[in-house]
Each structure stands twice: as structure tokens, then as C-alpha cells.
């Protein structure tokens, strides 16, 4: 008969189980009755015949089962196993709860972290066909990705054939007129095709039309959904109306959809077409845009990059003054958006994975301990006829059930953790990583969770299986569950503990390194006093402050009024506050030194005379600026040490002259002072050469004020803001904060803080689990050896010897675990070198510290069982036999 028909019959039995049973029952009842009749015919009494027949038949249920096994499926025994496993769990809820919560913890953490990884790294950007989008920028020796100038952009767009579209965006800010005064709002200036290149459809109205970004076109604006709701109450009739931005009327033409986010400028609320060229955009050497391009079909990112580099080289030949050394950078847009968080996320995911592993191993060893204490049960069941396979199935089912329960609970933990982490994420960071909104339990995370669950289940099912296959049933029965067979488990359990300890070491070392690098980052040499420093940003509207004289007067007034406030020691104004970026740069040339058109890029800052002193920067040579350094006199500059060392090695820079590449008379300035480096760039960036100019020589309309206070700087902020509004209620005042807060919330320090706290949390849990695991092994081995210890003590062993015996075992396990862990962690930290700051991967103090912490914790964990062993009463131990 074919296998197929057989299968059908099996199915028939499975679904008609009741009928099958009834038929079999009836058949056997008939058999019994006939036998009974035969006995009666032989001369037995009816009662005797009945019992004889029943005796002959034996256990009817067992008979039925035997017949059923022939045709039945395994599924039914699986159900039995499942029921039995559930009973086992109910019987020892402590064990089940512990195992399930450990698993849930490991699962939850790794699924939650994966949720973030998925949102940031796996899910496509929320734009049309995002894999074809490229980030297009210029490149130079000092920065591999730098802004495009408007003129370069126009040439690139005209000359290239690789991109079907090339658009640019640049940051901007406007003063929005509201009934309660002018409010500064961050904005973007973009080219006409910006939204169609990204493939974004507006919620209301339209996006920009071709040509609307040209100089002289009408002023229009598109609002983000958030801005529309927050600032205009989501009025549906806003489209078509005009709003006042920095004194000019802009017509609202569209509202962007709610889910739209543009990470590189996450906080921008208004999108305005480029329109007229500002002073910067009239020069080819002034860079203020980044580009996004859409690759033509069949064009690779490498091909596009090669073409852009060729175009850049051609422009460099054509315009050597502005373009020499300016290359091109074309990378996938996703790289630009998530590049900086990738390393951190990968490290977090690895950490979570290790934690999961340690959790699984811990539960596996719990299972082992339990299977050990169930040796008698196994032996009895084996003796009663359970085959090894059947017993194995039972244990595998128990492992699977635990894994399933743990994973379900783990999903709950994951959901909770994700919401918690999202809530903990600072607003500033969330603005720049808008893909966080994609974080959640979705198909990807579910798939990942299922994979993790399967691995857990495999591990938990395999452990007792391995354990069981080594066990001889007769030994289990004969020795009544004690003695030599325990050694087998000890070895396996001990190996697992070594694994746990090693993983704990890796996580602790990782956390230690991240913590240190975070600490170092916050304690880098800043070159100024970051405490008691309040800062605020100001926009002076061009419509009112048109002339330089007006701006200078404003700067003087601000300085005067703020200085008069109680608790204020000094006040300075700058174009950019420190610890922001190596940006707003200038290309310099030293008069009297060889020059071949190279771009000597340095930070350029315009500051009022009191600014550097207010920062408490250190003057090394020469003088500060003074009130007379204005347009009536030749321009002078103060440089930092880095500039002095790079461009005036071994010389005294005071009195030397610096100019622009063409040495135009207007650009020449004399060095009058050298200061110790003030960190202008980010915490994890190197210090660049910087030059400072007097604000009174070329004032700005976007300025920042630094206020040195004698007491709590935070308390002064409201007064500063109100004073500024008193000076002129048209001033846009925003970003009031303290230098300490600004440093703490900078992106690099946020990422580091996020990573070190999380990995720190992981390693604390790992330490706990590892030490508990060690405690379990030692305690168990002591309980197994009670009789042996009793005999030893009866024969005269001292308590100290017993202590030593137990501690030696624990000591060896710890030494093994820690050494393996240290070796692994050096490897692991080499992998995270990329995000480490100011600390080596093989940092000896960290490694030593972790070894000491883990060693001490292990000693403490093994001391308790050792004490119990030493307190064994020999008489009781022997009597217990």
C-alpha cells in the first residue's frame, strides 16, 4: 500500500479519535465477553470467569494505547508531555518564575535594541526609492564632506550625467511675527526640486514648482506638519495666506505630511526656495549648501562619485583661486543620516546579544540542576518502561515550554523598554534621528524575536538532552540520586559558568571603556571656563539692522545692558559659540611664506573685545581686542596656538600678516595676540587652527552672547532674555542655555552617554547573572558533597580545609572565566575602537579593574556555600544516609 494511503488512514484516526477508541473498546469488550463465556463453559462460576477474563486482558487503557501507538501520531504524546511540563512548572513555581524572568530579560533587551537597529539601519529612509538617493558634497583635505558653494552647485548640476536630479539645502532662520513678538524659527533654504527629488507629496497645497527658486521670484514657504499645528493651530485655510518672516511676507503654498522628516536638518520648520543670492552665495569660495541627488537608472554610486570628482577637478582648473583642492563626495544618503549612530547601535546590539546569551546559559544551568534533582524520577520512569527517546522528548518539551513562556514575556519587556528608551531620549537628539518614530514592534522585530526564541529553545532543549544521554538509569535508581553521577553534571554546569563569567567580563570591559571614553570626552581640554557661563542666540532682523553701524551699536548696547545685570561679571558676543563645530571657516595665506594656492582652512570667529576674556581664555602673547579695533583702523587678528604652531613654527607670530589667497589689500590683517586653544569644534573633534576678528570690523546679524556670572548661571537666563527684549522687542532671542548643558546635550556626548548607560546596565545584569550562576554551581556541588564532607570531617578534616576545598573549586572557575573573558574582551574592544574616545582598547586599568570586581564578587558568591560546607555536622550528614 502506498505511503499516501497510509497517511490518510493515520489522519482518519487522528480526527476520528473517539470513533477509533470506541470501536477498539467494543471489539475488546466482545473479546472479553467471549473469553468469559469460554471459562463458564469450562465450568467456572460466572464471577470467577469475569475476573479471570479481566486478569487475562490486563490493563485495558494500556492495551488501547498500544494499539493507538501503531496508528497514532507523535502529536498526542507531545500533548501529554506538554501537560506534564505544565504540571512540573506549577509544582515548582519558583524555578519556573526565575527561569522565565531571566529569559524575558535577555529577550526583551535584545529585541528592544534590535527595534532601534531596525529603524535606523534596516528600514529604508522614508523617501521614494531611497536607495537611489545620494548625499552630494564637496571634499577637501581637512574635511571629507564639506558644503557646496552655490556657483559650484550650479555647475555640477549642469555638467553631470549621473544624476537625474541634484538639489541643495542650507540652514537658515527667520523671525516669525506673532502677536506676542518676534519668534526665531529654524528654517531651510532649498532648491525647487528638493521635495520632488525626495519623492515627498504635500499634505495640503503643493511643493515648489520648477524655477521658483530663481532670484527675483516671489517669496513662498512650505511648512512642516509640526510647525503648522504648533504655530498656526493646524488651520486648514493657511495655504494661500501669507506669513511674515523677518519682516517680509511669504505666501504659504503647502503643508508637509506628518511623517515627513529630513534628518540632516531635523529641526527646520519652514522650507523656503533659495531665491536671491546673499553675500556668501555671490562668491564661489563661500560654501553653505549640501546636496541630495537621485542616481539615474543603472548608475552606481561609485560612477556618480567619479563623475563628480572629474567635474570638481575641471572646476579647480578653471577657478584655481576658489576651487583648488576641492574634490567631491558622493555617498548614499542613508550613510550621511545614520552613519554616526551605526557604530553605537551595532555595539549596543552586540551587548544585548551577549546579555541574551548569558541569560540562556543561566537558564540552561538551572535546568541542569533541576534535571539532577529529578534523577530519581527519571530512573523510576525509565524502570517502568519509558524509552530513552520518550524521556528525552519530555525534557525537550519542558525546555521548549520554558523558552516559549520566556519569549512571550520577553516581548512584553521589549515593548516596555522601547517606550522607556524613546521617552528617555533627549529632544535634541530625536530631532536629528527622526527614524526613531519607526521604532516599534513590527514585522522585522517579530521575525527577529522569533529567531531569538528559536535559538533559546534549541539551547534549552539541547542541554537536558545532552545531560540525559550521559545518564545510566540504573545508576540513578541504585544510588538513590547521590554520588558519583553528580560529577558529570558538575563538569557541564561548571563549563557553563565559565562561559557566563567570560561574557560578564566582556560586557564589563565594554561598559568600562565606554564610561571612560565618555568621561574623557566631558573632560577634554576646552581652553576656557565652562562653568558659570550662560549663552543665548540672537537674530537681529535685517529689515531693522541694515547698516554695520546699527549692528555695532546693538552689540555695544547688549554688552552694556547685560553687564549691568546683578550677578553678571562680564559679557561677550561672538558669531559662533565654542564647542559647536569646526565650521564657518576661512582660507588663509601667510604673507612672506611660499604659497601655491592651497586651501589653508581655519575657523573664523567674529568677537567683541570682551568675549575672549569673558570665556576666561588664556592670552599667551600680545593683546586682546579693544574698543578701538573697528573699521577706522587696519584690521587685526588674534590667533590660537594651533594656528601659531601650524603656520608660524618656531617663530613669534605677533606682528606677522595674514591674508586671503589673493592677498587683496582688504584681506590683510596683522596678528596682535595668541591665545591658548579654545575648543570651537565638537568634543570628539580635534582642535583646528582658529582666528578671531573684532566684531566691530564686520558685525553679523546672527550672533551669540556669552555671559559670565558669579552665581548660578541658569538663574540669570530669564533676566537675560527679558533684558534683550527690552533692548528691542524685534530681536529674535532663542537657544538660551548654559555652557554645561550645551556640552551635555551635544550629539557626541549624548550618543556616548546613551551607549555607556545602556552597556553599563547590560553589564550590571550580566555580572549579577554570572555571579548567581557561580553561586548556584558551588552551592549545588556542596549540597551533593555533604556526605563526603561529613566523612572527611569525621576523619579529622579541619573547617579551614573544608573552606579551602570549596573555595578552590570556585576560584578555579573564576580564574578560567575571567581569563577567557579578558582575552575575548580585548578582541571585542578592538571592534568598538571606532567609537572609543581618548582610551585604548587594551586599557590595562579597565581590564584589571574588571578582573578585580568580578573576582571579588565571585569570592563573595562562593563564600556562602563554603561556610555552609564548613558548618556541616558530620554526625547529621552521615545519619542522613
Amino acid at each position: 500500500m502506498s505511503g499516501l494511503v497510509k497517511l490518510f488512514r493515520k489522519f482518519g484516526v487522528l480526527f476520528g479519535r473517539k470513533r477509533f477508541r470506541d470501536e477498539l473498546d467494543e471489539e475488546m469488550a466482545f473479546h472479553r465477553a467471549e473469553t468469559e463465556k469460554a471459562y463458564v463453559a469450562d465450568g467456572m462460576s460466572p464471577a470467577a470467569a469475569r475476573s479471570a477474563a479481566a486478569r487475562r486482558f490486563g490493563n485495558a487503557t494500556r492495551l488501547r494505547e498500544q494499539s493507538h501507538e501503531v496508528v497514532g501520531f507523535r502529536a498526542e504524546t507531545v500533548l501529554q508531555d506538554l501537560r506534564f511540563s505544565l504540571r512540573q512548572m506549577r509544582q515548582s513555581p519558583g524555578f519556573a518564575l526565575t527561569a522565565i524572568s531571566i529569559l524575558a530579560l535577555g529577550m526583551g533587551v535584545s529585541v528592544a535594541i534590535f527595534g532601534f537597529v531596525d529603524a535606523a539601519l534596516l528600514q529604508p529612509l522614508p523617501y521614494a526609492d531611497p536607495s537611489r538617493l545620494a548625499d552630494v558634497a564637496e571634499a577637501s583635505a581637512t574635511s571629507p564632506r564639506s558644503d557646496l558653494s552655490r556657483a559650484d552647485y550650479e555647475d555640477w548640476k549642469r555638467l553631470n550625467h549621473s544624476l537625474s536630479a541634484l538639489d541643495v539645502y542650507g540652514g537658515s532662520g527667520y523671525l516669525l511675527a506673532t502677536p506676542s513678538g518676534a519668534v526665531p524659527v529654524p528654517a531651510l533654504r532649498v532648491t525647487d526640486g528638493f521635495f520632488s527629488t525626495l519623492g515627498v507629496k504635500p499634505l495640503l497645497g503643493r511643493v515648489f514648482l520648477p524655477g521658483e527658486d530663481q532670484p527675483g521670484k516671489s517669496k513662498i514657504v512650505i511648512l512642516t506638519y509640526g510647525s503648522w499645528v504648533k504655530r498656526f493651530g493646524g488651520r486648514s485655510d493657511l495655504v494661500g495666506h501669507s506669513i511674515s518672516l523677518s519682516g517680509s511676507a511669504y505666501t504659504v503654498v503647502g503643508i508637509l505630511p506628518r511623517e515627513f522628516a529630513f534628518a540632516p536638518r531635523g529641526n527646520g520648520e519652514f522650507y523656503v526656495p533659495l531665491l536671491d543670492k546673499n553675500e556668501c552665495e555671490q562668491r564661489r569660495s563661500c560654501h553653505n549648501f549640501y546636496g541630495i541627488g537621485r542616481l539615474r537608472d543603472g548608475v552606481t554610486i561609485e560612477a556618480a562619485r567619479a563623475e563628480m570628482q572629474a567635474i570638481a577637478a575641471q572646476l579647480a582648473k578653471q577657478y584655481p583661486g576658489s576651487n583648488q583642492g576641492q574634490g567631491a563626495s558622493v555617498v548614499p544618503l542613508s550613510e550621511t543620516i545614520v552613519g554616526n549612530v551605526r557604530a553605537v547601535l551595532v555595539i549596543l546590539l552586540s551587548g544585548a546579544g551577549l546579555l541574551l546569551l548569558i541569560a540562556c546559559v543561566n537558564v540552561a544551568s538551572l535546568l541542569l540542576v533541576r534535571s539532577e534533582s529529578r534523577r530519581r524520577e527519571i530512573a523510576v520512569r525509565g524502570a517502568l518502561g519509558a524509552t530513552p527517546t520518550r524521556l528525552l522528548c519530555q525534557f525537550v518539551t519542558e525546555g521548549l515550554l520554558l523558552a516559549a513562556a520566556g519569549c512571550l514575556a520577553g516581548l512584553g519587556v521589549a515593548a516596555w523598554l522601547i517606550t522607556l528608551l524613546l521617552r528617555l531620549m533627549p529632544k535634541d537628539l530625536a530631532d536629528y534621528v527622526p527614524f526613531w518614530r519607526l521604532v516599534g514592534l513590527n514585522a522585522h522585530t517579530a521575525l527577529f524575536a522569533a529567531g531569538v526564541a528559536a535559538l533559546c529553545a534549541l539551547l534549552l532543549a539541547a542541554t537536558p538532552a545532552v545531560r540525559l544521554s550521559f545518564q545510566d538509569i540504573r545508576v540513578g535508581l541504585g544510588e538513590g540520586g547521590r554520588g558519583a553521577a553528580g560529577r558529570m553534571w558538575q563538569r557541564l554546569g561548571a563549563n557553563l559558568v565559565v562561559v557566563e563569567l567570560a561574557i560578564a567580563v566582556v560586557l564589563l570591559v565594554g561598559a568600562g571603556l565606554l564610561g571612560q571614553s565618555f568621561y574623557r570626552m566631558l573632560h577634554v581640554e576646552d581652553g576656557f571656563d565652562t562653568t558659570h557661563l550662560a549663552t543665548v542666540q540672537i537674530i537681529a532682523p535685517d529689515s531693522i539692522y541694515q547698516k554695520d553701524d546699527q549692528k555695532i551699536a546693538l552689540d555695544r548696547e547688549i554688552t552694556r545692558r547685560l553687564s549691568a545685570l546683578p550677578g553678571v561679571e562680564s559679557v561677550g558676543i561672538t558669531s559662533d559659540l565654542p564647542i559647536q563645530c569646526n565650521c564657518d571657516t576661512d582660507w588663509i595665506r601667510i604673507v612672506g611664506k611660499p604659497f601655491h594656492g592651497e586651501h589653508n582652512e581655519v575657523n573664523e570667529r567674529d568677537v567683541t573685545p570682551g568675549y575672549l576674556a569673558a570665556l576666561k581664555a588664556r592670552l599667551i602673547r600680545g593683546r586682546w581686542f579693544n574698543e578701538n579695533d573697528d573699521t577706522t583702523r587696519p584690521q587685526v587678528t588674534v590667533i590660537n596656538e594651533a594656528l601659531a604652531e601650524k603656520y608660524f613654527p618656531g617663530e613669534d607670530p605677533i606682528g606677522k600678516t595674514i591674508g586671503a589667497g589673493d592677498l587683496s589689500p582688504k584681506s590683510l590683517r596683522q596678528v596682535v595676540g595668541v591665545i591658548a586653544n579654545v575648543r570651537e569644534g565638537g568634543l570628539d573633534q580635534e582642535v583646528w587652527p582658529s582666528e578671531y576678528f573684532s566684531m566691530y570690523h564686520g558685525p553679523d546679524s546672527f550672533i551669540a552672547v556669552a555671559v559670565r556670572t558669579s552665581q548660578d548661571e541658569k538663574a540669570v537666563l530669564p533676566t537675560i532674555v527679558s533684558t534683550l527684549h527690552q533692548i528691542d522687542h524685534n530681536l529674535g532671542v532663542y537657544g538660551e542655555t548654559t555652557m554645561t548643558d550645551q556640552i551635555g546635550s551635544s550629539q557626541s556626548s549624548l550618543l556616548h552617554r546613551f551607549a555607556s548607560w545602556l552597556v553599563g546596565g547590560f553589564s550590571a545584569m550580566a555580572l549579577l547573572l554570572g555571579v548567581v550562576g557561580l553561586y548556584g554551581v558551588v552551592a549545588y556541588s556542596v549540597s551533593q558533597r555533604t556526605r563526603e564532607i561529613g566523612v572527611r570531617m569525621a576523619l579529622g578534616a579541619q573547617r579551614a580545609t573544608v573552606y579551602k576545598m570549596v573555595m578552590r573549586q570556585a576560584g578555579w572557575l573564576t580564574v578560567f572565566g575571567v581569563s577567557i573573558g579578558l582575552v575575548c574582551s580585548v578582541g571585542a574592544s578592538l571592534l568598538m575602537r571606532k567609537i572609543l574616545f581618548g582610551v585604548q582598547a587594551w586599557d590595562a586599568p579597565t581590564l584589571a579593574g574588571v578582573a578585580v570586581v568580578l573576582g571579588a564578587a565571585s569570592l563573595a558568591a562562593s563564600f556562602l556555600p563554603a561556610r555552609r560546607a564548613a558548618r556541616v555536622n558530620p554526625i547529621e550528614a552521615l545519619r542522613a544516609e
Partner: protein, 115 residues
């Protein structure tokens, strides 16, 4: 008395062969099969119910026998098993195998007696 408690006590497959053989004459119910084997073997072989019914299920599954409910002479419902064509073929195979086996065993035994 020799009791066929477990398959392992007999040569493997022997019970199946005996059941198939008893069914060659006429369809029988389980009790009838056990009785028939007992009588034909002159009370030497007793089939235990614990072996008989699983064996019948096995034969059913293989398609060597068919089962149907009928009334007995004493007017009771019983499940009668009938040999199928496939079962007849299988019986032939098993019998020839068994004869070869017996022959082989016999040769070994007679040799042992001569020695």
C-alpha cells in the same frame, strides 16, 4: 504452555503471518483469530490480547486486512477482519521467508546433533 507475550519472544513478524494465515479460510473477529490459532496449534500457542490488537491495527494500516462490523451467530456485533489481495501476497512472502528460516535452523540443529 508457550505464550506469545511479546513479538520478541517469537521470530519477528511471525504473529502477523499467523493472523494472515488464519484469515485465509474465512473472515474472523479478533477473538476468533486468537481461538483459531490456539486450536490449530493444539493449545501450544496462545495469542495475548496485548499483542493481537496492535498487530491487527498494524495489518489494517498496511492494507493487508480489511475490517467491517458484522453480527455473530449469537447475534452480537463484532469486527470481522478479511484478508485482502495484498495480504494474500504478503502471506506468501512471509511463509516462504519463514520456511527458509526453519530450514536453516533445522540444518544447524541436525548438525549439532551429529557432532
Amino acid at each position: 504452555m508457550f505464550r506469545m507475550t511479546k513479538k520478541s519472544d517469537l521470530l519477528p513478524g511471525t504473529l502477523d503471518m499467523l493472523i494472515l494465515k488464519t484469515l485465509t479460510r474465512a473472515p474472523l473477529h479478533g477473538y476468533g483469530i486468537a481461538l483459531s490459532i490456539k486450536h490449530l496449534s493444539a493449545d501450544v500457542l496462545t495469542v495475548e490480547e496485548g499483542s493481537l490488537y496492535p498487530a491487527l491495527q498494524r495489518l489494517l494500516l498496511q492494507g493487508w486486512v480489511k475490517a467491517e462490523w458484522k453480527m455473530t451467530d449469537t447475534n452480537r456485533r463484532a469486527r470481522y477482519y478479511t484478508l485482502t489481495a495484498a495480504g494474500k501476497k504478503q502471506l506468501g512472502i512471509e511463509m516462504s521467508q519463514f520456511e527458509q528460516m526453519i530450514e536453516a535452523i533445522g540444518r544447524v540443529l541436525s548438525d549439532a546433533q551429529e557432532a
